[in-house]
Amino acid sequence: MSRLADHFRRGGAFVWLSGTVLAFCLAMILALVGYIAAKGLGTFWPSPLVQVQTPDGPVLGELTGHEPAHGEEPAKLQFRVGNRDLFGQDFRWVTATGLGAPDRPKDALLIERLEYGPFIGRVASLSREGQPVATGPAALTEALRQLPATQRLRASIRATEKGQVGELNRKLEALRISRKKVEAKGDAAGLAALDAKVANLQADYDALQTSLEASRAALGAWTLGLETADGQTKELPLGSVVRVVPANALGRLDKAGVYLARLWEFLADDPRESNTEGGIFPAIFGTVMMVLVMSVLVVPLGVITALYLREYARQGWAVRAVRVAVNNLAGVPSIVFGVFGLGFFVYSLGGTIDQLFFSDALPTPTYGTGGILWASLTLSLLTVPVVVVATEEALGAVPRSQREASLAMGATKWQTLWNVVLPSATPGILTGLILAIARGAGEVAPLMLTGVVKLAPSMPLDSTFPFFHLDRKFMHLGFHIYDVGFQSPNSEAAKPMVFMASFLLLLVVVLLNLFALNLRRKLRERLGGSTF
């Protein structure tokens, strides 16, 4: 007994306890990252379509979850049955007992389409302009043959709508604003000229619309006759089909092909179905662009501040206090920065800019509302302390001998800084920048107030002058996660997308951090801790 007490007192058990606690922390991290990775990466792999016979009829779908028996409730299985337009909801829970043997019919299909989520069922027939062309398996083969052409047509309609029609609309809008100005001046001749231009553009617009109408009609020529597992039928125009996945008839290689196709669509396409399907390319683009603008702003700000604090300011308690203050700014909640960005940048600065330069467009605000410029400015304020700290470390790590040698050769202070110190410090500054980017890419709260939207009508960078539209709102990966997960009408169906987006964000942030930490470690080894 005393041996046990002694053992206890020596505390071997407590070492184990603290080790357990640490193991728990590490396990949590790994579990979290692993869970997101597994759920995210597994999103696009085509799962088999299982058909079971329930007391209410046959149910065909992907097996997405199961609940073991709990108390009096029996075990349940969750099926993703799709067909939101026919069934009302995507998912269905089915009691696990009393089902017939599960079947994997070879002709079961999952059809991804533009509206109402995926269709799960079978192809019954294919018709062209109302005339049936094929039925049964032949219909599927013929449809698959016609699908690439249809998809190309749809893509070209989309491109025309976004490109040429959008361009005409913008020109008409600009003419409308200048017309207001000319009207106010009372210039009759100018007014007539403008009206002529408007009429020209309107004629172009109408011509374009007619050709688009023809294309759209052509898109609707082919129609698929579909049938669900419980016998309901649906007519689906081939133009609405994004992808046909005969999940049970695919081999390993084909499934990998579908996986890669879906992954590519995720990374490169626009979202559809209120952000719950399709791709997140605008969000990725918006995040990247915002981070770029933020870096352009934060590097000069941070480097100048660090240079001032370390090289030019008289070292005393005041500078120490300022340094502490700037460092502590890193701990201030990001929402406070967001509030400042909203109040000062958006309303005050933006409102003033609108009054001075964009008064014709008022009351519609141009810069007086959130946009990528204000969001990037807010985030650069948020991340300046990170860059300042990293730059100061880097400047301090440059050996005094090098500085003194340069000064001894007759160089001025600025020449020393520019030619000797800053080049040596560049890797450290880079580390700071990377950490700032990692922090900025992950912050969402300040962006919510200064310019991020659920669905941006156009991107901040496009082919119309002035190319860089700093007043436009944009989409952001982090906000996308929040919005799709918590503010979409069908968050259960959208969860796989959110997992994938989380995984992407996680990957980017973790890789950036690993890179920065590695860089910092190598720098410390090389320069030997002079200030650490």
Binding site: F14, N328, E443, V444
Partner: protein, 723 residues
């Protein structure tokens, strides 16, 4: 002295220029960053600015019995028994045209118009009419000369008996210009109070029904409730009654304390304003207290000199005008703030513009109109309202409530910051409860017992943990952990105990293993061997959970919680938030604590071990106390992070501003509140400024925490340099 070569002068000039630019730029940037705080403060301070009152002129007019100000403050309609309606332009005082139709002059009785322009008149022919005054303004026309006054006279009901004074009327039903409405009027006769009810388009004279009161009560003032079913009566004896007019049954009564002089309503018609003959002003409401309706005095205002002659309520917010012969005041109902207090020169009638920004007083004798303008943009906020309990309309007692907007125009905004601060503290507490032991014990192990190679793996892993975006954590917390916890709450709560038990069992078992094995795989790597223990713990919890639930809780923990502890279980609750926020905070506390623990001088640990202490005893009794300032500093920084965390709270709680410590329901924190409400807050409105105030508080608090932590850390570093 020989002149310098040109490239050197250029270099010197460049040097001076860059020195100037960098110094200037550095100071500017630092100033801008610190000016952030000042900007936020500047946006929040107008909340506490006192109201500005300015004299807006005097206009000569004939004596009148009532006035109605237009919203724009450019015109006033005067009503007098002898002259009927007249209109004046303000501030010039020139007359405006007034339609001549209306009850026959001189009027027998006139009820002064209220802020909405509703008034009741008994003409010389004995017919009772009601009017709703309104100006018809052609689109965008600002010149009152172009407006037309439309009194919308309705009624013309013949009366059989004429009262001493008409006290109050209410129009019920219908709800349009086209009649179908019923009129209820209460009036004072020499014998007592009487009331009548008549449809507006009646042609035959309605009868006055006397209202039976207790013999010793003499009614002085009366007003209908908002739905017209109850009558509030004030008596000379200082009693306030809520009675049913038909039967005279008293539903509730209250003691006012002095003779009731006048009764009015604040915006919303649910708060009763009562003025006394000696100047006392109080607000009453009908509340349900323990199954019975009570007439409760829920606001008291500073007394006025003299009898309170009347009340006028603003149509924009809860401020109201009250006046006596010698003073007029504008008070706000919710905060009990006095916004305006001006001296008057005699008995008369006063009016308040619908927006509450213009006050007019018409002297009874002279007829001179005195005008004051009032600028009080945020009357519904005061320091007491933000931080103390306030008694709101419809509530039984004073409470801390945050409810910034509601569905109707007469909504009373409730801006108490206390539930939000409470929510912040609650979330932080649960996060720290979870994170602090885990982080400190983990840091202790990493710095004292782990092998160097393991340490070099653990530290970067934890730093990666610090980099996880809180959006991702919040998403997992809200959409994965919350449902999981709901399904397996008992298993999850059993898990730590299961692991503890297994850990304490595994330790002596490990000691039994052969020494060569332990030396090769064990020292410094115990953490890896704990992974199977953890998995075993998970399994044990998974098995034990349902068993415990069935035996101790009768099958479902939710019903057990409800019946045994009286708490409801929300899916998104503080446990989930604590876990997720703890996850975000652990790496911060870990990194700083680990730094502090590692920088304890080797000499101390060596000395302790040399004296025969075991590694654990050294760690617990020597290293930990020595590094405690560093751990304190780490906790401060972690606290700062937890206080300001927005996204996790947004996604993992129900965002309900509840004020209890139960871990099974949600909370609303300052930061999440700002994020949710500020996009919709009207620019420079009260909510906007209150949210800026909240941001200011967050800023100051986290700044102070971080500064304290930094100073402690610096002192610690200096202390170790000397050891």
């Amino acid at each position: 002295m020989p002149s310098l070569p040109s490239h050197q002068t250029r270099a010197q000039r460049m040097d001076r220029f860059m020195a100037f630019t960098i110094s200037g730029g550095g100071i500017l940037i630092i100033g801008a960053v610190l000016a952030m705080l000042l900007f936020i403060l500047k946006e929040a301070l107008p909340l506490f600015a006192p109201a500005t009152v300015k004299r807006a002129g005097t206009v000569q007019a004939a004596p009148s019995g009532g006035a109605w100000l237009d919203e724009s403050g450019k015109a006033v309609v005067l009503a007098s028994r002898t002259g009927g309606l007249s209109a004046l332009r303000l501030p010039a005082g020139t007359a405006l045209p007034v339609p001549s139709e209306g009850p026959a002059l001189p009027w027998r009785a006139l009820l002064p118009p209220d802020t909405r322009g509703e008034t009741l008149v008994i003409g010389v022919d004995g017919r009772l009419s009601v009017a709703r005054l309104a100006w018809s303004k052609p689109a965008g026309e600002n010149d009152p000369a172009q407006w037309t006054l439309e009194p919308h006279w309705q009624g013309g009901i013949p009366l059989k008996a004429f009262p001493e004074a008409v006290l109050h009327f209410r129009l019920l039903g219908g709800g349009g210009l086209d009649g179908g409405q019923t009129l209820r009027v209460v009036a004072r006769f020499p014998e007592g109070l009487a009331w009548l009810e008549t449809p507006l388009d009646a042609t035959s004279a309605p009868a006055w029904t006397p209202i039976p009161l207790e013999a010793d009560l003499h009614p002085t003032a009366a007003a209908w409730s908002a739905d017209g079913q109850n009558l509030f009566v004030g008596t000379r004896e200082g009693r306030l009654l809520d009675l049913d007019p038909a039967s005279g049954a008293v539903n509730a009564s209250a003691t006012f304390g002095e003779t009731v002089e006048s009764i009015g309503f604040a915006l919303g018609q649910s708060s009763l304003l009562v003025g006394g003959a000696q100047g006392r002003i109080a607000a009453y409401q009908r509340v349900r207290v323990q199954e019975a309706f009570q007439l409760q005095a829920f606001h008291r205002f500073a007394s006025l000199p003299g009898p309170v002659l009347g009340f006028q309520a603003s149509l924009r917010d809860k401020r109201f005008l009250a006046w006596t012969p010698t003073q007029a005041v504008v008070d706000h109902l919710t905060t009990e703030r006095r916004l305006l207090s001006v001296a008057l020169d005699g008995r008369g009638h006063a009016a308040l513009a619908p927006k509450g920004d213009l006050i007019l007083q018409a002297g009874e004798a002279s007829g001179a109109l005195n005008l004051w303008s009032l600028d009080a943009p945020h009357p519904e906020v005061s320091f007491g309202l933000l931080w103390g309990k306030t008694h709101y309309e419809g509530y039984e007692k004073p409470e801390y409530v945050w409810q910034s907007t509601g569905g109707t125009d007469d909504f009373e905004s409730k801006f108490s910051l206390v539930p939000l601060v409470f929510g912040t503290l609650k979330g932080t507490l649960y996060a720290m409860l979870f994170a602090f032991p885990l982080a400190v014990l983990g840091a202790l192990y990493t710095s004292q017992f782990a092998s160097p190679r393991l340490r070099n793996t653990i530290k970067p892993t934890v730093e990666i943990m610090a980099a996880l975006p809180s959006v991702v954590l919040g998403f997992l917390a809200g959409l994965v952990m919350a449902p999981l916890l709901e399904r397996m709450a008992v298993e999850v709560l059993v898990f730590p105990f299961a692991v503890l038990l297994l850990a304490l069992v595994a330790a002596p078992l490990w000691g039994r293993l052969p020494l060569p094995f332990r030396n090769a795989f064990g020292t410094g790597r115990e953490v890896l061997w704990m992974v199977p223990v953890l998995l075993l713990g998970v399994g044990l919890a998974y098995l034990a959970g349902p068993l415990l639930e069935k035996t101790l809780m009768g099958g479902s923990y939710r019903t057990w919680l409800q019946s045994a502890l009286g708490v409801t279980y929300d899916q998104r609750n503080s446990l989930v938030v604590g876990f997720a926020m703890g996850f975000a905070v652990i790496p911060i506390i870990f990194t700083i604590s680990e730094d502090a623990l590692s920088s304890v001088p080797r000499s101390l640990t060596s000395a302790s071990l040399a004296c025969g202490a075991s590694p654990w005893q050294t760690a617990w009794r020597v290293v930990l106390p020595t590094a405690s300032p560093g751990i304190f500093s780490a906790t401060m920084v972690g606290l700062g992070r937890a206080i300001g965390e927005t996204m996790i709270v947004l996604m993992a709680t129900g965002n309900t501003p509840v004020m209890d410590w139960s871990p099974f329901n949600g909370m609303r924190t300052l930061s999440a509140n700002i994020a949710v409400e500020i996009p919709e807050a009207p620019l420079h409105g009260t909510l906007y400024r209150v949210l800026f105030l909240a941001a200011f508080l967050l800023f100051i608090f986290t700044f102070i925490l971080n500064t304290v932590a930094e100073l402690v850390r610096q002192r610690l570093r200096r202390r170790y340099e000397s050891v």
